[in-house]
Amino acid sequence: MLVFKCPYCGIEADETELSPGGEAHLKRFGPGSSDEELEGYLFNRENPKGVHFERWRHVYGCGKWFHAARCTATLEVFGTYSAQTFEPPKEIIDIIKAKRPGWKWRNLS
């Protein structure tokens, strides 16, 4: 039973007040993209046993989507942040690096 702090309204929201939305920071591929790009965008999700960036919506609260950095093996939450970002903010990255030495994600390490 997870708890996340919604960065938009400041509430410590119960999992039952939220709806999960899968991997965060996907890049949309529309017309003009290749079949592989489209497949990757629609289906090939990251599925790490460890640090994961994901989307949640505070659906029973302020209605806003936000992002969370969470460990799928321990359910530790490293932080939540704005959904209007292309990659996790530095402070979140720093927390993860401190807690999970050697962690890598895309071009970040």
């Binding site: 997870l2 017309p31 989307r55 209007q84």
Partner: protein, 1003 residues
């Protein structure tokens, strides 16, 4: 015999007699008794039968670890199977019956299994009943099934109430023994908000029974003082009869509060399930005594030493006239001493240790009790009751012939900390070799959302078995979590309490030590499931080496006590069979709940009218009062049709359609989604959402639009109206109101967050009514107000204004093919407006129509329905809706996906109309077959029916379907097999069966 002592019993009130029944026998006990203590006070030692061999079973314990004393409790709507007698408080009129026997507890045919026991070892059913094949289904399984199960199945609906409660604490302490109470007191001073819960009705745990004095106080003075000190703290909540059922991630813990189980009649909710968030949790859950594994240790009268002591001290019950004690540790000497003090004979204390016990043993000896060190019980005499024992040297195979008479055996094989709650969320355990127990590994506690530990075990739950250790551990454990729970540590010195020296335990996993195979086949590990030492050894021999394999193969620990008594003993046998150390083999996983909790409490108040919300339109009650047959549509209930004069639903639908097509019908369309989209970028946004171009829609006009998922599939459709320069009103399907709203918000917030668009779901602001049929205009003109003439309000136009006295927005749209207006009024005006339409419509014989008539009329007209023509695999192109897909747009959601190879495959199934040759109705969902079979031998298909109805208008069956290359095959006849083996033939046609030129709606 087992009986009530002349005096004593801390918990009972001898002035209050309670009457109850067991197996129809009228018995009595005292207030404060448990059912178990009351049964024992009536010499009812035999209380049930075991699962597999139907062996006689007696009460073993005095608490929630009880494997044997499971009873059918209560009657009718209050009947409950598998209730533990040891945790059932006695109340007036309680009715209990023993389980798993036929015809009676005393004489049970099922005991034949016992005589066949040798042929029914662990896992026997995997090796037998294989041939002949049909025998399993028809003979073996039905037999096994009938003999399985324990309690009876309830036969009536449970009428009790249940509820949930959300609570938030800095610190939750589970267990109200001296460890928990001391931890609570230590933490209370730090100002933390604290909950302490205790599963039994009383506080103090074992200390009242185990110690006469704690420090300078008697144990009951000590507990009373702790309680009164705790009650002074506003920040401490204390709840008894509440069990910590499970610990979940992020500090979530379930508290199972039994409010009424001790009462004769319900007063308010029966159970309350607390759903608690705690910053820190302390488990002061104590420990459970282990049985000793000796031959015939399952005979009624063999009990845990601590339980024998409990019954004497708490309830004034002697569990026998002569009670032998068998132990491997000092604690059981307390039982002997206590029994001696209350005047029960203890013929012998059999101590497995050569070196014997410490100070307590000396005291026992001083009282004149015979103590035999280095001995074992090699045999128990008696079948349904212990009659005598034979003792022998422990380091032996069981020779020796001294027979000692006794009618009860108080055994103690050491103690196992209750680590369940600590382990539920991933806490790791370590093996303590000296004490022979698994205890929490304080370096690997369960971690919470912040990655930091949040569950700490204290007291004997943490492996600190001696009283002074318990107190110290509770103190230290509590100090270690106060800061994490958000409190300030106020250090006071810990007051050391001295305790008598105890000699250390000696682990004995099998007694006598060299028991031969015959004896090992009689040494029980799991009393309920009948798992013996030789069963675990067999599992090991056959390669079931992992503890999970052995558990599942033998069913050890899978009974309703979930192995509270048996797990460690079984694990030790498995380890020695494998020649491995116990910690190498490890434990099985601890899963919630700690003891079983009622399904009712899990459901909470969500039953009957609160089972799920029913969403209601403003006219909902009218529909119900006017005989509508309602169908669930999501959480709404919509009229399917309005049967009259006992007519069938089909007839009602026919009548509604005929009347609508010929004169006038009314539809409650309020459930259709209405989403308001506004802003400078709203047009651009809708162009991305819809396959059509919405930005070019003129103010005052309506346009039918399609929405696809990014995966290309059609997900919703509806009419969009342009309200003003920056505002559009999008109608969705009923199901789409919430999902499409969410879909819009998702794209706006997470992809196009710089676009200036706001969306609001205004579905429930309006009552929306379809006024449909050739007389629709006349009706509106009769009500008066807005000009709804052909010229003033053309097809696919909308207008705001007054209609009669109502604030109306009228859309001239049609989903039936008739002249049709959909009129939205503020929801609170809806009922009055509906009434007025019905009243004013009388001259046109107006009829309300339901969803089925709606569906048939749209099918007659060839309109698609989301959920019928679409099923999540259909793209707009399949439905020949290319006209609604803008060619001018570079992009819309789903556009790229629709370019994939399978989506542009020319052989996709496409929408057509289907007319049966004989006018009958094609079955729902029927498939059109093609020649041959596919590589997997399945009949080849070339299409399927998506909607099929009897059309009252055309007086024949009509259908829509998806057929391979369908639109190019107009007039072709294809075949639809039915399930009964016959087939129907249908001609491919246009899907528009009625008024193809739209003459009816464009008037």
């Amino acid at each position: 015999m087992s009986k009530r002592l002349a005096e004593g019993g801390l918990l009972i009130d001898r002035n209050k007699t309670i009457k109850f029944e067991f197996n129809g026998k009228k018995l009595s006990g005292f207030e404060g008794d448990t059912l178990a203590s009351a049964l024992l006070s009536n010499d009812q030692v035999l209380v049930g039968r075991s699962f597999k061999y139907h062996r006689p079973r007696g009460i073993v314990s005095s608490g929630s670890e009880e494997p044997n004393a499971l009873i059918n409790l209560g009657e009718k709507e209050k009947f409950e199977p598998n209730q533990r007698a040891t945790t059932t408080e006695l109340f007036d009129g309680l009715k209990a019956a023993s389980q798993n026997h036929w015809p009676s507890l005393n004489f049970d045919f099922g005991v034949i299994n016992n005589y066949l026991a040798r042929f029914l070892p662990a896992g026997f059913y995997y090796k037998m009943f294989i041939h002949p094949r049909p025998f399993w289904k028809y003979i073996y399984e039905p037999f096994i099934r009938q003999s399985a199960g324990l309690g009876r199945a309830p036969s009536q609906k449970d009428n009790s109430q249940y509820e949930h409660f959300y609570a938030f604490y800095d610190l939750v302490i589970v267990g109200g023994g001296i460890a928990g109470l001391n931890a609570a007191l230590t933490a209370a001073e730090s100002g933390l908000k604290i909950l302490i819960m205790e599963q039994t009705p009383e506080w103090g745990g074992r200390c009242l029974v185990d110690f006469s004095k704690i420090g300078d106080e008697t144990s009951s003075e000590y507990v009373s003082r702790l309680l009164s000190e705790l009650r002074k703290f506003q920040n401490v909540t204390m709840r008894s009869r509440m069990m910590g059922a499970g610990v979940y991630d992020h500090g979530y813990i379930l508290g199972y509060e039994r409010l009424n189980d001790h009462l004769a009649a319900d007063e308010g909710p029966r159970h309350r399930l607390w759903r608690i968030r705690a910053k820190q949790i302390i488990t002061a859950t104590g420990s459970i005594e282990r049985p000793v594994s000796f031959p015939s240790n399952d005979i009624p009268g063999v009990m845990l030493a601590s339980a024998v002591r409990d019954y004497a001290v708490k309830f004034g019950v002697a569990t026998g006239d002569k009670i032998a004690v068998y132990t491997n540790n000092d604690d059981a000497y307390r039982t002997a001493i206590t029994l001696n003090e209350v005047g029960v004979e203890v013929p012998v204390i059999v101590d497995a240790r050569m070196s014997g016990g410490g100070a307590l043993a000396e005291r026992a000896k001083a009282l004149g009790i015979r103590v035999e060190n280095g001995k074992a019980i090699s045999k128990v005499f008696g079948k349904k009751r212990v009659e005598a024992i034979r003792i022998c040297e422990h380091k032996d195979s069981g020779k020796g012939n001294e027979k000692i008479e006794c009618d009860c055996i108080a055994m103690s094989g050491g103690w196992s900390p209750v680590v369940h709650l600590y382990s539920h969320c991933g806490g790791k355990l370590k093996w303590d070799e000296k004490l022979a127990l698994f205890k929490p590994d304080s370096s690997a506690k369960p971690t919470s959302h912040d990655g930091l530990p949040f569950v700490t075990a204290v007291g004997s739950a943490n492996g600190s078995l001696l009283m002074h250790e318990v107190l110290k551990d509770a103190w230290e454990g509590c100090l270690s979590v106060i800061k994490a729970a958000g409190g300030k540590v106020k250090t006071k010195n810990f007051k050391v309490i001295e305790q008598q020296y105890e000699n250390s335990l000696q682990a004995i996993w099998i007694a006598p030590h060299d028991a031969d195979i015959k004896k090992r086949a009689k040494i029980w590990l799991d009393f309920q499931n009948d798992v013996k030492i030789n069963d675990v050894e067999l599992a090991a021999r056959e390669g079931f080496e992992s503890v999970e394999h052995a558990k599942r193969y033998t069913t050890l620990g899978m009974a309703t006590d979930q192995g509270k008594l048996s797990n460690i003993n079984g694990l030790a046998i498995l380890s020695s069979s494998l020649g491995k150390d116990i910690p190498k083999v490890g434990t099985t996983t601890f899963r919630p709940p700690y003891t079983p909790i009622s399904l009712g409490s899990i459901g909470g108040s969500a039953r009957d009218e609160l089972f799920q919300p029913v969403r209601k339109t403003p006219m909902h009650d009218w529909h119900e009062n006017n005989g509508a047959y309602m169908e669930p549509v999501g959480q709404w209930r919509r009229p399917f049709c309005y049967p009259q004069f006992g007519e069938t639903y089909a007839k009602a639908v026919e009548r509604e359609i005929n009347q609508t097509r010929s004169s006038l019908g009314l539809l409650d369309a309020s459930t259709l989604g209405k989403l308001l989209v506004t802003g400078p970028d709203a047009g651009k946004f809708l162009d991305m959402l819809y396959t059509n171009m919405m930005s070019t829609l003129k103010i005052g006009k309506c346009r039918y639009g399609l929405m696809c998922s990014e995966n290309g599939f059609l997900i919703d459709d509806g009419v969009v109206a342009r309200i003003d320069e920056q505002t559009w009103l999008c109608h969705t399907t009923t199901g789409g109101a919430d999902s499409i709203h969410a879909h819009m918000e998702e794209w706006l917030q997470t992809e196009w967050w710089d676009w200036k668009v706001y969306v609001a779901n205004v579905t429930e602001q309006y009552a929306q009514i379809g006024v449909v049929g050739p007389n629709a205009r006349k009706l509106l003109e009769k009500i008066g107000g807005l000009d709804v003439s052909r010229e003033a309000l053309g097809f696919m136009e909308w207008k705001d204004g007054k209609l009669g006295k109502y604030d109306a927005r009228i859309f001239r749209i049609s989903f039936s093919g008739e002249l049709s207006y959909e009129i939205a009024v503020p929801a609170k005006q809806g009922m009055a407006f509906w009434d007025e339409l019905i009243e004013a419509g009388k001259e046109f014989q107006v009829m309300p129509y339901g969803t089925e008539a709606l569906h048939v009329m749209r099918a007659e007209k060839g309109f698609i329905m989301i959920g019928d023509e679409t099923d999540g695999t259909v793209i707009p192109q399949d439905l020949n809706l290319n006209w609604a897909i803008s060619k001018k747009k570079d992009d819309y959601l789903g556009k790229r996906a629709q370019e994939r190879s399978f989506m542009v495959n020319p052989n996709r199934w496409k929408l057509v109309g289907l007319e049966t040759l004989d006018g009958s109705v094609l079955p729902d969902g029927a498939y059109a077959t093609a020649d041959g079979v596919n590589p997997n031998g399945q009949k080849s298909t070339q299409g399927r029916v998506t909607s099929s109805y009897f059309s009252p208008t055309l007086k024949r069956g009509i259908a829509m379907g998806l057929v391979m290359n369908g639109p190019e095959r107009d007039g072709e006849i294809i075949e639809f097999p039915k399930i009964d083996g016959t087939a129907m033939q249908a001609k491919i046609t246009s899907p528009v069966f009625y008024d193809p030129d739209g003459e009816k709606q464009n008037v």
